[in-house]
């Protein structure tokens, strides 16, 4: 029997489709989804959004960068090799359904000064729509680049299910920013899968503000001598739910990971932070630090925070800590006693809480945009 030759993309789509039909949507019986019910997603009948993502300003790309559609490039060595559609249902759903995606290739030794920004906008007109943005970044050895993903949308309920794979060659330096300001009714699920070569320096900044139901998974696999920084900031209010799951796999020795996630919860919002750190047997001299701090501004807001450390090597340094706190009334009074009004005093202290994450953003326009978003969010809600 001779089967018609199928393209690589068709093949993985078909495999992913089958795998999703086996896995189905996760339920709260799955440990990784214990605090996040995706029932609102699974019971909605989404239509494909139709509009495929287009390479953003591909023509203006600097030398050393190539931006193309996934279907136009030879992505077989990389695509779907890292983000597992075998184990993660949403990755399978994305892999089966992505409308075509973007491939960013950074040439060996290229230093790309200007950030590469990918703007993903959704709009739901009348009926719920789903889109499955897919991004593949391959940074060859010794390259340096900054990638910004921004997600926003308008209209009624829609579902964005994004997967980004980043493959960084030896000595590459990659900064990744994700700014998520989806509409209030949106469902947003995203996986960032990062494969780091030797002595790479990778920094992720996950900034989440929008969406009714949001789940971010960041999975990083480290090689020898890597430095991996995961920064996160989330601000939720009303009935918003956000779940940040991170996983750092120290597979090889002498790598360092620093993780700082900060959350601000208002109203009836709920948040989940789950930070997994795996230090494999070979990964001696690992230095891993994880911190999750939450500012809970309402009695009705709920945070579930959980470190998950699995350490199989014996000569390592791993620390973790989580805090849940309120605004300091002494500090509020101090500011008031200098003439600063109560609402301004509270906002000043909330921004101060977020300050170190904001200051770590090296792209000035993005940092200013973030400050603006924070101010708007704080002024738009009381408590």
């Amino acid at each position: 029997m001779t089967a018609a030759p199928t393209s690589f993309l068709e093949q993985i789509r078909e495999e992913a489709r089958q795998r999703f039909s086996e896995l189905g949507y996760p339920t709260t019986h799955d440990e990784d989804w214990r605090f996040t019910s995706v029932a609102p997603i699974s019971r909605t009948n989404f239509e494909p959004s139709g509009a495929g993502t287009l390479p953003a300003a591909a023509s203006k790309a600097a030398s050393g960068v190539q931006i193309s559609r996934l279907s136009e490039a030879n992505v077989e060595p990389y695509l779907a090799r890292y983000a597992s559609y075998q184990s993660n249902a949403f990755v399978a759903l994305n892999t089966a359904n992505f409308e075509d995606g973007i491939f960013i290739h950074i040439a060996r030794g290229a230093v790309i000064e200007h950030p590469i920004e990918l703007v993903i906008q959704s709009s739901a007109n009348g009926h719920p729509t789903a889109s499955h943005p897919r991004i593949l970044v391959v940074a060859e050895p010794d390259s340096q680049a900054t990638i910004i993903e921004t997600y926003s949308g308008s209209g009624g309920a829609y579902f964005t299910n994004a997967v980004t794979e980043i493959v960084a060659g030896d000595h590459a330096v990659i900064d990744h920013y994700k700014l998520q300001t989806e509409s209030d009714l949106a469902f947003h699920v995203a996986t960032l899968q990062v494969q780091l070569g030797r002595d790479t320096n990778f920094r992720s900044h996950s900034l989440s503000f929008g969406g009714a139901l949001v789940r971010n998974d960041i999975n990083a696999v480290l090689s020898q001598g890597c430095e991996c920084t995961l920064n996160g900031l989330y601000l939720v209010s009303g009935e918003q739910h956000i779940d940040n799951h991170t996983s750092i796999d120290h597979a090889k020795p002498h790598a360092a990971s620093h993780e700082l996630y900060k959350g601000i919860l208002q109203g009836h919002s709920t948040a989940v932070f789950n930070g997994k750190i795996l230090v494999r047997k070979d990964a001696q001299k690992t230095d891993a630090k994880q911190t999750n701090k939450n500012l809970v501004l309402s009695e009705d807001a709920v945070i579930n925070t959980k470190p998950e450390l699995q350490i199989l090597a014996d000569d390592v340094r791993c620390t973790h800590g989580a805090t849940i706190g309120q605004l300091d009334p002494e500090a509020i009074f101090y500011l008031q006693s200098r003439g600063i009004g109560l609402a301004d005093a509270r906002n000043l202290l909330i921004l101060a809480f977020a300050r170190d994450i904001v200051d770590r953003i090296k792209v000035a326009p993005l940092r200013e945009q973030l400050e603006q978003i924070l101010l708007e969010k704080l002024h738009g809600t009381s408590n």
Binding site: F333, L335, R338, A345
Partner: protein, 253 residues
């Protein structure tokens, strides 16, 4: 009319009465020292005047500059020209001293119907007032009081006062925890701010500070009442006899 008129002021903290009928009248240009043993209510009086909500006023009235002070929010009191130098200045990580001062000064100016000070003028003002307090300019870019030494914190309080130029300054045990050199710097900063338009209340446990900030009046507080008032020589008297004589006055009252 006096700048501050306190009549029969009673105040509680956590249901316990601390101030049991304070009467005090202060005119612009005067410096009043309030002395007394620990637990006499000195700091409570300072906190009540600045609007701290831990304290409940149960009776009495306070008229400041012709207005009902007790009806005002803490921020409005500050905007109307009241400044309290904290006994324990609060650390505020993530907010730079400079940003904080600018927000404070502009809030006060707005209340006075003035526009925001532009960046250049603000910086010039700040640098001039810092020199007065012999403060290192690097403190401007550090977070408010965060990691400051005890002396730096107290100097920072008087520096803020110098920038905000209040009508009524309340110094709550500003001398506590200061060595003699820091005390002299703080006192000379305070003296430089003495002005016929400005009144000061200096709350202290020890007479030592009053060697450097010489008051016009001294009041002795014991068990929530002013039991003795006099000129600056009263402080010296207390220095010699301690508060022992005062406690007898209370018992016989």
């Amino acid at each position: 009319m006096s700048l501050l008129e306190i009549k029969n002021l009673h105040a509680n903290v956590a249901g316990r009465e601390i101030l049991k009928g304070i009467d005090l009248s202060i005119n612009a240009g005067e410096v009043h020292a309030i002395m007394g043993p620990n637990g006499s209510g000195k700091s409570t009086l300072a906190q009540v005047l600045s609007g701290r909500d831990l304290y409940q006023v149960t009776a009495g009235e306070v008229v400041y500059d012709g207005k009902d002070l007790l009806a005002m929010s803490p921020e409005d009191r500050a905007r109307e020209g009241i400044f309290m130098a904290f006994q324990y200045p609060v650390e505020i990580p993530g907010v730079s001293n400079l940003y904080f001062l600018k927000a404070a000064l502009n809030a006060v100016r707005k209340h006075q119907g003035l526009s925001d000070l532009d960046a250049m003028d603000f910086l010039a003002l700040v640098k001039e007032r810092m020199a007065l307090m012999e403060m290192d300019q690097s403190l401007l870019n550090r977070a408010v009081n965060t990691g400051f030494s005890g002396g730096e914190k107290k100097r920072n309080e008087i520096f803020q006062m110098a920038v905000l130029e209040p009508k009524l300054a309340i110094l709550d045990e500003t001398d506590s925890g200061l060595d003699i050199d820091a005390l002299k710097i703080v006192a000379s900063g305070v003296n430089a701010l003495r002005d016929p338009q400005r009144a000061m209340i200096v709350v202290t446990h020890y007479q030592r500070l009053l060697n450097y900030i010489v008051p016009d009046f001294v009041h002795v507080l014991a068990e929530g009442r002013i039991v003795k008032s006099g000129g600056k020589e009263l402080a010296l008297e207390l220095e010699e006899s301690g508060y022992v004589g005062i406690e007898e006055v209370v018992e016989n009252a």
